[in-house]
């Protein structure tokens, strides 16, 4: 039972981790909290749903299209909420993201309807291994998550673009002076972070076999928590914290009470904010 619970937590944790990574990328580079990350996550799920169920596309195509669509939406939000508001205060940008979250949520309702719809998949088998049940979709979730982390790691660590992103995150003025097109980096990072969020949406839709307009709300909050826990701007931190949150929640439900699921994750959040605001992996200077 314990192992099974740990394993369940892992699956949930990996979706948290994926959405939190995108989030951390955005916060780290743009120093902007995006309140519409959860809604972009939802849009990703819906786009993939449309590809699979309406256009009879393959799952792979769904992943690709959802990734691209979420990236586009992200770029749009960045353009309006950040580029157009360069001189304004940070709070205006936050409010723009709140505005976009309302728009996305209600637009999704208008386009796809408010009802919960099931994600049609034909990969739905389960097998048992050492007393733990695995499902094929869980494996897909792990595989995609891990692939994304590796790709992201390579992108940030080994490419010129990745170096530019890291430089901008560290000090955008210095990066600008060194010839980095900071505006382009901002757009790209926001789009990439959103795309990862959208991908997480597809995975969650697939894993729970359900897409519905309100699916982003709670996920957005969990991404916040995971990010803070991980140190806000740290990408490995967000990954570890995502898994950690997934585990804590599952174990809290398993061994304490199901009412405590969210109490726990938010209590941990507040505990960390008070006693170790830089989270598990954050640098000291990340607190601004």
């Amino acid at each position: 039972m314990f192992l099974q619970q740990v394993f369940n937590g892992l699956a949930q944790g990996s979706t948290y981790a994926l959405i939190a990574v995108g989030f951390a990328l955005i916060i780290g580079t743009l120093r902007l909290v995006s309140f519409c990350h959860g809604e972009i996550f939802m849009m990703g799920a819906y786009v993939a749903f449309t590809v699979v169920s309406r256009w009879q596309g393959s799952l792979l195509a769904a992943f690709v299209v959802a990734f691209a669509a979420a990236a586009l939406l992200g770029a749009l939000v960045e353009f309006v909420g950040f580029r157009l508001l360069r001189g304004a205060s940070r709070i205006s940008s936050l409010l723009v993201t709140i505005g976009f979250s309302t728009i996305f949520l209600n637009a999704a309702q208008l386009i796809w309807g408010a009802q919960t719809q099931s994600f049609p998949t034909d990969i739905d088998s389960a097998f048992e291994f050492m007393g733990i049940r695995f499902t094929f979709i869980q494996i897909v979730v792990y595989a995609v998550t891990i692939c994304m982390f590796i790709l992201l790691h390579l992108l940030l660590g080994k490419t010129k673009l990745g170096r530019a992103i890291r430089a901008t995150a560290l000090d955008h003025e210095a990066a600008f002076v060194m010839g980095v097109d900071v505006n382009r980096i901002y757009s790209f990072t926001y789009a990439l972070g959103s795309a990862l969020g959208g991908l997480a949406g597809v995975l969650v839709g697939l894993y729970y076999n359900a897409v519905y307009p309100a699916m982003g709300g709670m996920m957005g909050l969990k991404a916040f928590s995971a990010c803070i826990l991980g140190g806000l701007t740290s990408i490995p931190g967000a990954v570890v914290a995502g898994f950690f949150l997934g585990e804590i929640e599952n174990l809290a439900v398993a061994y304490i009470s199901s009412g405590f699921r969210h109490v726990f994750s938010f209590a941990i959040l507040i505990f960390f904010l008070i006693f170790r605001p830089r989270g598990l992996f954050g640098r000291k200077d990340s607190i601004r």
């Binding site: 699956a11 309702q109 919960t116 729970y208 519905y212 929640e249 199901s258």
Partner: protein
């Protein structure tokens, strides 16, 4: 004024204009149509259910008007979006009261909004009939407050007796959604089940919005129940069933009447095969009024499957119409006429109001057999 200021000012002005334009209510002419107000969450988190309200009410009114209206007067619907928000519900209630043409109100969907509105309707003497509000105290708010759906007290006790007395199950696991509906359902189910001699081996709950139930389900699996009661709406039940299947939890499922809908089967497939529920209405219902409703609904909204919420709304509108037919355009008399309704042949069963204005209906026992809701053999 700079250009930006000008644009901003224009924006605000444009936005605020209708506020000042609207508001007044004009007295109705003698032969003006009868207006029935509907308040439902057309947008917001419960928009999915608000849609059933809209379709159910629209259908009922169309059928009434096709038959020549109520005593020859056509009926009109006034649908207002409450977003399930008590603040909006109160404003809508006030609008309905101030509009003398409104003869009765159907709504709201959830108890919070319904009850906030009931505080306004009741003293103002306008009938409110909610198809789905399940809070036990709802109709007690006032003489003018009705329900068209049975209370969870009836429904859950019925299910518990079915599980324990008729099917002989002794080890029951329960999961419920922690809102007023789920709590009342669960409390009454457990009370009756225990009284009948069953043991509750696991009791889990979750808050609205949660979608990962694997932790709770693993616990339930380890408790080894012989019956699993899901006190949720259908969307959560579909998730519960599929996740239970993936975890290898093989147990008979049972749920409330709100599960009796096709999307449950479409979403959960074989995971819900064999699930039991009580029913006020389901798509395969063969009782003549129910069948009539199903056929007409599919004719009017092609491609959509009716749902018990739509049927309950349809009945609510018809109950109001019945009251108006007897009493004429008099809000107070309509209430008395409605309270006296007996053996009304609704799409959700033959209905009689008790002294508390809650309906009493006979439930059908239904089950998913061969991926279709059917009358249960046992």
């Amino acid at each position: 004024m700079t250009k930006k200021n000008l644009i901003a000012a224009l924006l605000v002005f444009a936005a605020a204009l209708p506020v000042f334009a609207g508001g007044g209510s004009e007295a109705p002419a003698q032969d003006s149509p009868i207006v029935i107000g509907v308040m439902a969450p057309i947008t917001g988190d419960n928009a999915e259910y608000g849609e059933f309200f809209r379709t159910g009410a629209t259908l009922a009114v169309k059928i009434i008007n096709d038959k020549g209206g109520i005593n020859g007067t056509p009926v009109e619907l006034l649908i207002e979006d409450s977003k399930s928000d008590p603040k909006e519900a109160v404003l809508i209630a006030q609008r309905f009261i101030s509009n003398p043409a409104v003869m009765g109100v159907v709504g709201d969907f959830n108890s919070t909004a319904s009850m906030a509105a009931a505080q306004i309707f009741s003293p103002a003497a306008l009938v409110q009939i909610s198809p789905t509000a399940s809070h036990p105290g709802f109709t007690a708010i006032g003489e003018y407050i009705f329900r068209s759906g049975t209370t969870q007290v009836h429904e859950a006790s019925f299910l518990a007796r079915w599980a324990v007395k008729d099917l002989g199950r002794k080890r029951i696991a329960v999961i419920y959604i922690n809102n007023d509906w789920g709590v009342v359902t669960q409390e009454n189910f457990i009370k009756t089940a225990k009284a009948e001699g069953a043991e509750i081996v696991a009791l889990e709950h979750f808050i609205p919005g949660d979608k990962d139930f694997t932790a709770s389900l693993t616990k339930i699996k380890n408790a080894n129940p012989d019956m699993f009661f899901v006190g949720t709406q259908w969307a959560d039940a579909a998730l519960l069933a599929t996740q239970a299947q993936k975890l290898g939890l093989k147990v008979d499922l049972m749920g409330a009447g709100t599960l009796a809908t096709d999307p449950l089967i479409q979403n959960a497939g074989m995971a819900v095969e064999g699930i039991r529920a009580n029913s006020q209405y389901f798509v395969g219902d063969t009782r003549p009024p129910s069948k009539f409703f199903t056929d007409e609904y599919q004719k009017m909204f092609p491609g959509r499957r009716p749902h018990s919420h739509a049927a309950l709304t349809y009945d609510a509108v018809n109950l109001l119409a019945e009251g108006i037919k007897t009493a004429g355009k008099d809000r107070a008399k309509i209430r008395d006429a409605m309270a006296g309704i007996k053996d009304f042949p609704g799409a959700t069963g033959t209905l009689t109001f008790d002294a508390e204005r809650n309906p009493f209906k006979v439930f059908a026992k239904i089950r998913v057999i061969d991926q279709k809701w059917q009358i249960s053999p046992e």
